[in-house]
């Protein structure tokens, strides 16, 4: 199985894995009134890989993420994660099954500190409730300590430890993007969906991001990426799917996609 140039950066660890289907969509359709944003889309995401979804503006990429993560309901069709049908489930239920996502327009908790943002990422891995927290039961105190320590570890891994007590909204944009990533990682997902993570980043920041995504993939996290930045996509992806007007028009490894007729045609319509 040819994985393209990405394997040179990542090493050959991915090729030795049996690549199971982690996420699939079957005839996934989403209509907004008269506009069909997703048109009978069939997508397959294999475990252990870095997969990208690209396409011109308005292709339906973000809508795809929103439907998969349960933020908006599908009109028809199915989404399956790890064999289970997740279409129609509320977002927090879908996330509890092992997926999480980041947002194109950054959805940080701006008034909370950097470390607190990451600590919320650990919500699903903790259990303190209204009563047990109000009465500060010993097990809750111990759990809080564990949450804080683990969150600090994630910050250290992503180089944010010095800003731990700073208000998230005060960070420069590039650092905020990394924080959103740290927060998503803290939930220990099997599938991490990144919605245009490079948007608003300069060339150097994008390069750092590429390295970061590869490191994440090495942690046995499957990455599904929606991106506009072609260089980033081509450099790190194992597999690329191309969308246009709600449909999948091509897929394969980066090299194949780069030269595909239909893809070039779809992009020629825009700058």
């Amino acid at each position: 199985m040819d994985l393209g140039s990405a394997s040179k950066i990542k090493g050959l660890s991915a090729t030795n894995k049996i690549m199971e289907l982690l996420l699939t969509t079957e005839k996934l359709t989403k209509d907004f009134g008269g506009v069909r944003a997703l048109d009978n889309l069939d997508l397959e995401v294999r475990e252990g890989l870095i997969q990208s979804v690209i396409g011109p503006n308005g292709a339906g990429k973000t809508t795809l993420f929103n439907v998969i993560s349960g933020v908006i309901p599908a009109t028809s069709g199915l989404v399956r994660f790890n064999g289970e049908t997740i279409t129609g489930l509320p977002p927090h239920r879908i996330s509890s099954l092992g997926t999480t996502r980041t947002f194109q327009n950054l959805q940080l908790f701006s008034e909370m500190t950097v470390i607190e943002n990451v600590m919320v990422g650990m919500h699903m891995r903790s259990a303190g409730g209204f009563l047990s927290s109000s009465f500060k039961l010993p097990w809750v105190v111990a759990e809080e300590r564990r949450i804080r320590d683990k969150s600090m570890e994630w910050l250290e891994m992503l180089g944010l430890e010095n800003e731990a007590e700073m208000i998230a909204g005060s960070l420069p944009f590039g650092r905020q993007r990394i924080l959103e990533l740290a927060r998503a990682l803290a939930s220990r997902p099997r599938l991490l969906m990144l919605d245009e993570p490079a948007a608003g980043l300069n060339i150097r920041e994008t390069q750092d991001l590429a390295g970061l995504i590869v490191r994440i993939s090495k942690l046995d996290i499957t990455v599904l990426l929606v991106e506009h930045d072609m260089d980033l996509v081509m450099e790190i992806s194992d597999h690329v799917s191309v969308m246009d007007q709600g449909r999948k028009i091509a897929e394969g490894d980066p090299e194949t996609i780069r030269n595909d007729e239909a893809v070039l045609k779809a992009y020629l319509g825009e700058e």
Partner: protein, 331 residues
């Protein structure tokens, strides 16, 4: 435990505050002042709950006087009509308010912004109408008389001084529980909902559960306050639990500082006592009150507590900057 961690800990402030409250009756013996302090204490309890809902979780309630009133009327009616003990009255009130808040909260908290505000406003008015119209039960607009004075576990709280200590104790317990709650996983979840509800959902926070949960808790706080009020004044009427009081409560939270428990207490204290001070300006009391509120919101939109905090940080920064410059020129 280092000295620094002691300074940072919210429990340090709490301890000082407790000591302060315990010492006040030694200096203040005037019945009237104790009365005002008791009312401040009662209002603080409601405002703390409202702050958890509005300041921390980012929701809104323009009808919270309703829960205050339900707490007062349930215990008051049980006491006045059937001689039920205040303690039992409290238990029934808490159960009743939980059920009502849960029933109202579930559909209402799916709404956002203006729609949520209108729904809570409507709820508050409906409950007020119940207080006015169920005359056989509540006494209607003339009010309910004959509420028993507070007797708990054999102790009767019939002096202002003893009631002051009772209200303080209840308020401090609630404050402590609230401090614990906001500095926990639940507190973070609530603030996350405020920060970005969609991101909170995606991180596994069941936002509907937390929103309704904190709504019920804030309703329970208000009910406890109502219970304390009913057995203190021993007479209640619907006019204490109307729309204007709901608005006054919101004003207390906002002026004090949203998202700060100390701000809630401060806001309650300020807006309960301000009308007393304003009697000086006589006919211009309402106008002055309005001007003060407007000025605070214009110059310190984050509320007084945060505003003063921000101001002192700015002043401190300016002072240290100036001294740095002076050091620079010296060298």
């Amino acid at each position: 435990m280092t000295f620094r961690s002691l300074l940072r800990s919210p429990y340090t402030g709490f301890s000082f505050f407790t000591v302060l409250l315990l010492l006040i009756p030694l200096a203040v013996t005037n019945e009237y002042y104790l009365n005002v302090l008791i009312i401040i204490g009662i209002n603080s309890i409601i405002v703390m709950g409202l702050d958890l809902l509005m300041g921390y979780t980012g929701q809104i309630s323009l009808g919270h006087a309703a829960f205050y009133g339900i707490g007062a009327y349930v215990s008051g009616v049980l006491s006045a009509k059937w001689g039920v003990s205040p303690l039992m009255g409290l238990l029934v009130a808490l159960v009743g308010v939980s059920v009502i808040a849960f029933a109202v909260g579930n559909p209402t908290l799916r709404l956002h912004g203006h729609y949520l505000a209108m729904a809570t406003l409507g709820f508050g008015i409906i409950v007020f109408i119940f207080f006015q119209e169920l005359i056989f039960l509540t006494g209607g607009p003339s009010g309910l008389v004959g509420i028993e004075t507070m007797t708990l576990f054999g102790i009767t709280f019939d002096s202002d001084r003893s009631y002051y200590y009772l209200v303080c104790m209840v308020m401090l317990i609630i404050l402590l529980l609230s401090i614990n709650l906001v500095n926990s996983r639940v507190g973070r979840a609530l603030r996350a909902i405020h920060g970005s509800e969609v991101a909170a959902n995606v991180l596994g926070v069941k936002t509907s559960r937390y929103k309704v949960g904190i709504f019920v808790i804030s309703a329970l706080y208000a009910a406890v306050a109502g219970w304390l009020y009913a057995h203190y004044i021993t007479f209640i009427s619907p006019s204490s639990f109307d729309f204007y009081f709901s608005i006054k409560l919101v004003t207390m939270v906002v002026i004090g500082s949203l998202g700060s428990l100390w701000g809630a207490i401060f806001g309650a204290a300020l807006l309960t006592t301000l009308p007393e001070f304003l009697t000086i300006v006589q006919e211009y009391e309402t106008v002055t009150f309005g001007i003060i509120l407007m000025s605070v919101m214009i110059f310190m939109p984050r509320g007084l507590l945060r505003g003063v905090e921000d101001l002192s940080i700015k002043i401190f920064a300016k002072i240290s900057n100036r001294s740095e410059v002076q050091e620079g020129t010296k060298q």
